[in-house]
């Protein structure tokens, strides 16, 4: 196997190296990818969508259909992992508790630090989501950070406790809500007589906007949808992986 | 009714009978009545077509167009009608015979038996009426598949291995040789219709290509059992006798030679064949088959196997005649389809009757049988005479034409082959009759008691025997049909 793999890798590698000689030089501003569509996105994005962060504009508007399926991929992965690792017979989630347990073993410093860190981090995540129009970031990054805060809490406390707050059922519901927001905005455009995900149609129902601002605002909605799905599904994936699907004790 | 639809009715009537046969599963008498009735209707359709064809009318119908210029279509001409007549008339007789045979041997699954029998007949008539090679091929394949359950009807190990062999041979050759050859022709010429002058005349194919194509067809239609692709036929003799009789003396094997005749006359065209000059290869292969199979038949002790090898030889006769390309030879070989069918089916019926009445399968056991079953053995004699080619039986007419054809073609070697093989035929049939009548049985002192086969068996076999004789006198109509087809006078 090793010899075979080695030969395969060498052959493929040589093919790629030979091809790389044909590439435009690295960093060339006049190479085809940097000219054709790129120019349009750079110069027109703000005109057409009122979003200065071109990445967000392309992500959520020009190629919004891609992003919807990117979100669906995350959703699909969450379902997949629950399906693969899930155990049926047992009770799947614990009773909701009102407060975090007061006295348990574990490092008090870590727990206290977590208590301080989590709200701040979540606030930052929301900033990342909301400010994606103007700075790096957006729904996906924000969603990951939100998921990370929950993971941090499971590390500091334990999985059962956190699942009591954010149960598997809740993750499913929020993930669905996220995708529904995304796809729903798309369908809304259809209902308003435009094509799928053609946000400009939404200016008819968004007060005080023109077609361009409608695009900008819808993108925010879309980003929120992405964030919700990513947050809940990534946390659910973690919860399943860390407990081999039993959802009882974490690390 | 429009005359056009008659061939369609003739083909499909037995298919329509199938649901009825299945429905009447529990009522054997009705079920068999349905089979007989369908047979009569079918024969009626075929006979109704005869005057039209003799008048030179074009009866053509397109059922379904698969691609532009490539339809599934029927066209009735003399050769096809002759063949259809053979198949349809013998179906009635065989159905009657199988009632006697299958009931006496207490076979099971008779509903299945009659259903597939009916389907096979539909496919056979489909081949007979095909207007182009594609249609012919489709019905040819359908026939292979529909007869498989019949061959393996007994369901024991022997039947299964025989059936497997049957299917392997037929499918391998037809899919492996005929299909690519047909597609090649279609790709090159764009026409698969049988035409009097052939479709390959102006194709500009090289000599080698034509040879390959010719051999692909001649061997690919392995139902014709040309050596070395004959192996399935003796193996298929494990089937119940009515099946062997109808399918392996008439329907299946004749479909093979009929297809080869169609290729030679309709795709290559006799004139073009003569021009290309490859037909002699076929002549020699067929001649070899005639002689070798006759010799093998001599050495067989199992009666049905001897008949099978005899069939191989007689089929090669037909191909041999066709490959000579003279008008009289082609007429003779077409006629031999008819004559041999009635002669050989008589022989098979006799073999079955002997088995039913006495349980004997081997020739060595049949000493003195003529006294026990005189009627059967007398019919056997008539059948033998027809196959050998002695007057006053139909076989004489066709063999005579074949001989004349060989003389026309100035192929003296072929004349010799025909004569030698007729002698061999006599050598392997007549001793059976002779020993049956004149050599006393195991115990000469014991009084001989007649123990004939049941009437349901006996009557059909006498019918076919008598028709064999009648054909000697009535061969005119058949020859006329062929003349119309070939457009010549003999």
């Amino acid at each position: 196997m090793k010899v075979f793999a080695f030969v395969l890798v060498i052959v493929t590698g040589i093919m790629l190296v030979v091809t790389a000689a044909d590439f435009p030089a690295w960093g060339d501003a006049h190479s085809p990818p940097n000219q054709y569509l790129s120019t349009h996105y750079i110069t027109q994005a703000e005109h057409e969508t009122a979003v200065p962060n071109m990445v967000t504009a392309v992500l959520a508007d020009y190629r919004g259909f891609d992003t919807m399926f990117e979100t669906a991929v995350v959703f699909c992965a969450g379902l997949a992992i629950a399906a693969i690792l899930g155990h049926e017979k047992k009770k799947r989630y614990v009773v909701r508790r009102k407060a975090l347990p007061k006295t348990e073993e574990g490092d008090i410093i870590i727990r206290m630090a977590t208590r301080f860190l989590v709200p701040v981090t979540q606030l930052f995540a929301m900033y990342v989501i909301a400010h994606g129009h103007h700075s790096p970031g957006g729904g996906f990054q924000g969603g990951v950070i939100l998921a990370a805060t929950f993971i941090l809490m499971t590390l500091a406390f334990d999985l059962k406790t956190i699942l009591g707050r954010f149960s598997e059922k809740m993750t499913l519901i929020w993930a669905n809500v996220g995708l529904f927001i995304y796809a729903g905005i798309g369908v809304l455009c259809v209902l308003l007589g435009s094509r799928f995900l053609e946000y400009s149609a939404l200016h008819k129902i968004l007060p005080g906007t023109d077609e361009i601002m409608a695009r900008s605002h819808s993108m925010l909605g879309v980003e929120i949808g992405v964030a919700l799905t990513v947050m809940s599904m990534l946390f659910a994936i973690y919860a399943h992986l860390v407990s081999k699907g039993r959802l009882e004790d974490g690390l | 009714m429009n005359i056009q639809y008659l061939p369609v009715v003739a083909v499909s009537i037995s298919l329509l009978a199938v649901p009825l046969i299945i429905l009447l599963n529990k009522k054997p008498n009705l079920r068999e009545a349905v089979s007989l009735l369908a047979g009569v209707v079918k024969l009626g359709c075929v006979i109704a077509l005869v005057p039209h064809v003799l008048n030179g009318e074009q009866i053509e119908i397109v059922l379904w167009e698969f691609e532009a210029g490539l339809p599934i279509a029927f066209r009735v001409d003399g050769l096809g009608l002759l063949f259809a007549f053979v198949a349809a008339s013998l179906w009635i007789v065989t159905t009657a015979y199988s009632i006697g045979y299958m009931r006496t041997t207490k076979s099971k699954n008779l509903t299945r038996f009659y259903s597939y029998f009916a389907i096979s007949l539909a496919a056979t008539l489909g081949v007979a009426f095909s207007a182009n090679l594609l249609t012919l091929y489709l019905f040819y394949e359908a026939l292979s598949l529909a007869t498989f359950p019949l061959v393996t009807h007994n369901g024991d190990g022997e039947a299964r291995s025989g059936g497997r062999r049957y299917l392997y041979f037929l499918l391998t050759t037809s899919i492996g040789l005929v299909l690519p050859a047909m597609l090649y022709i279609y790709g090159q010429v764009g026409d698969l219709n049988f035409q009097p002058g052939g479709v390959l005349v102006d194709s500009g194919m090289s000599q080698t290509t034509l040879l390959v194509l010719l051999l692909a067809f001649v061997f690919g239609f392995a139902k014709a059992a040309l050596m070395p692709f004959h192996g399935w036929l003796p193996g298929a003799m494990v089937a119940p006798t009515p099946v062997s009789a109808l399918l392996h003396a008439v329907a299946v094997v004749k479909v093979g030679v009929f297809s080869i005749l169609r290729i030679i006359t309709g795709i290559f065209g006799t004139d073009f064949m003569a021009q290309v000059n490859w037909h002699e290869i076929v002549t020699w292969v067929a001649a070899g088959t005639v002689v070798i199979s006759s010799l093998i038949a001599l050495s067989q002790d199992n009666l049905k196997r001897r008949l099978a090898y005899s069939t191989i030889g007689q089929l090669a006769y037909i191909i041999l005649g066709a490959s000579l390309l003279t008008d009289r030879a082609v007429t003779g070989s077409s006629l031999h389809i008819l004559m041999h069918a009635f002669g050989k089916i008589t022989l098979f019926f006799c073999a079955g009757a002997i088995y039913v009445a006495s349980g004997k399968k081997y020739i060595s056991q049949m000493v003195g049988l003529g006294r026990i079953m005189p009627w059967t053995m007398a019919a056997f004699l008539i059948g033998s005479m027809s196959v050998i080619g002695l007057p006053p039986t139909g076989g004489f007419v066709s063999k005579w034409l074949l001989l004349m054809g060989a003389l026309d073609a100035r192929m003296n070697a072929v004349v010799v082959v025909y004569l030698v093989s007729s002698l061999l035929n006599a050598a392997y049939f007549l001793p059976i009759v002779f020993r049956g009548f004149y050599v006393p049985g195991d115990d000469p002192t014991k009084p001989v008691k007649m123990k004939e086969a049941p009437l349901w068996c006996l009557i059909p076999l006498w019918i076919t025997a008598l028709i064999s004789i009648a054909l000697f006198f009535l061969s005119d109509t058949a020859i006329r049909l062929i003349e119309v087809f070939l457009g010549v006078g003999v």
């Binding site: 569509l37 190629r63 991929v73 399906a83 053609e198 946000y199 | 691609e67 299917l167």
Partner: protein, 500 residues
């Protein structure tokens, strides 16, 4: 609304998946109904789309987000994609219809995962068929792959272990495709398929090393995804150990859609002219396909496990299509496209039949066919229709695809491919007649006892499997009977891309 049909085809299963995953939490029983309704909606939309496309000249575009093509993502519906879309949605509908009966036996309690995953998979597959954007195709490919990984791994026994291999091979295939698209992007700056073709023609890039490597990467990537012979390693295990409900859906569709995408890339992005320049590729590909057909058939012949046998038949059938598309003539391409449709139904029929058999006998050994003609005449008859189609017996659709493929191969002078096609037909005949023989004869122990015909217990497959099975077998015959119309339809596409 009719303008929005392409989106409806995709949105129906997507929303179905969402709703099913939610409802499934509380009421798993309703998942089946939701799945059926959404797939029926998808099928209806696909058929409506087919009708709509028949009224246009070459095709019909749908701009997602309203952006003009190279800037935004575009759906491109031409006769080819409309046809394949109908096939996909129809087969998915039938396969999912059988899922309930299978799931009850195999994976009770997992309905709430299986149906949403199946629906997501159908979403991905339909999207791959419709999309006109090379990168969008990658995303949809991944959603399809992810759901299929899960559907395989959810099974019992060896399913998970075979899934690991599947994931690795699947990721390599998808990544190769992604890289290939990257190479094209690097050279052209565009991701839209039609745009890519135009830029490549206008810039005369067909000789460029980058484009050539991109093409090789894309082709090899999809060879892995479709399971062409030397790269097929993952396929038999993954499909045969997957739950029947999943393999009924995956086996007919996954490979076919990969073939479709490969064909789409060759014809619509790279153009036949480009491929004609590199004659060596066609020879290599035909050789590989020939080997695939022969090897697949032979291995299938040696199998005793029914599902494994069918999987190797799929491997052989992939060889048909992978070779047929490289014939690059009218008959060859027509045959390939027709075979995509025909094979989807054939494979579906066989897998449904096999799952019905396993459901009623509990064994997946080929011996469990014993006496099937008496125990389950209807199930077996429907299964047999698929088998006969696999052999290529008219009037089933299998005959007509073979007809065109062989015709194309003869025209192209690819005699080894002709030989392989015929060889595999024969092997298929052997395989299915072995099964018929088992079903017919080896049934009753007391064969000799004539007076008391043994009472055979009727043991048909559950209705939930039988109904889709019947429908599929009827479709196989209808597709054959109406093949002239289908062929005409396909030739409309073939002529429009300039294949002669």
């Amino acid at each position: 609304m009719s303008e929005n049909l392409p989106f409806l085809v995709i949105a129906a299963p997507l929303f179905g998946a969402l709703v099913a995953s939610l409802v499934g939490w509380a009421r798993p029983r309703y998942c089946y109904a939701i799945a059926m309704v959404s797939l029926a909606a998808g099928l209806t939309a696909a058929i409506a789309l087919l009708v709509k496309v028949s009224g246009t000249v070459s095709g019909y575009e749908y701009r997602l987000g309203g952006w003009p093509p190279p800037i935004g993502i575009q759906h491109w519906v031409d006769p080819l994609s409309a046809l394949i879309l109908v096939v996909i949605t129809a087969v998915a509908f039938l396969a999912v219809m059988s899922a309930r009966a299978n799931l009850q036996l195999e994976l009770p309690g997992k309905e709430r995962f299986v149906y949403p995953l199946m629906l997501l998979m159908v979403t991905g597959l339909s999207g791959m068929t419709l999309t006109g954007d090379a990168f969008n195709l990658y995303v949809l490919l991944e959603i399809t792959s992810l759901s299929s990984y899960a559907l395989v791994a959810i099974g019992r026994g060896r399913a998970a272990a075979s899934c690991l291999n599947y994931i690795i091979m699947g990721t390599i295939g998808a990544s190769f495709y992604l890289l290939g698209v990257g190479y094209l992007y690097l050279k052209t700056g565009s991701l839209n398929m039609i745009d890519l073709r135009q830029i490549m023609i206008a810039g005369d890039m067909h000789g460029s090393q980058t484009v050539i490597t991109g093409f090789i990467l894309i082709t090899v990537g999809f060879w892995i995804k479709m399971g062409l012979y030397p790269l097929h390693g993952w396929l038999p295990n993954a499909y045969s150990f997957a739950p029947h409900a999943a393999s009924n859906l995956m086996a007919p569709l996954m490979t076919k859609v990969s073939v479709y995408v490969s064909l789409r890339m060759m014809l619509s992005v790279f153009t036949p002219d480009f491929l004609a320049v590199h004659a060596l590729w066609a020879q290599t590909a035909l050789l590989v396909a020939t080997i695939a057909i022969i090897a697949g058939s032979l291995i299938a012949y040696s199998q005793t496990d029914v599902k494994k046998l069918l999987c190797y038949l799929v491997v052989a059938e992939v060889g048909y299509m992978a070779g047929g598309m490289w014939l690059m003539n009218r008959a060859g391409i027509t045959g390939t496209i027709y075979h995509i449709a025909a094979d989807a139904f054939m494979t579906c029929c066989l897998f449904l039949g096999a799952s019905g058999l396993i459901a009623s006998t509990g064994s997946r050994h080929i011996r469990s066919f014993r006496g099937a003609t008496r125990r389950m005449p209807w199930t077996f008859a429907a299964f047999l229709v698929g088998g006969l189609s696999m052999i290529g017996v008219p009037p089933t659709c299998g005959f007509f695809s073979k007809w065109f493929l062989i015709q194309g191969a003869i025209e192209g002078g690819a005699w080894h491919f002709v030989a392989a096609l015929i060889f595999s037909s024969l092997i298929n005949a052997l395989i299915f007649f072995r099964i018929i023989e088992l079903a017919y004869f080896k049934d009753v122990e007391h064969e000799d006892d004539v007076s008391h015909p043994p009472q055979v217990q009727r043991n048909e497959a559950p209705w939930g499997i039988r109904i889709p099975l019947f429908i599929t077998s009827v479709v196989i015959v209808l597709l054959g009977v109406f093949s002239p119309r289908v062929i005409n339809w396909i030739e409309r596409f073939v002529d429009s891309v300039g294949v002669t």
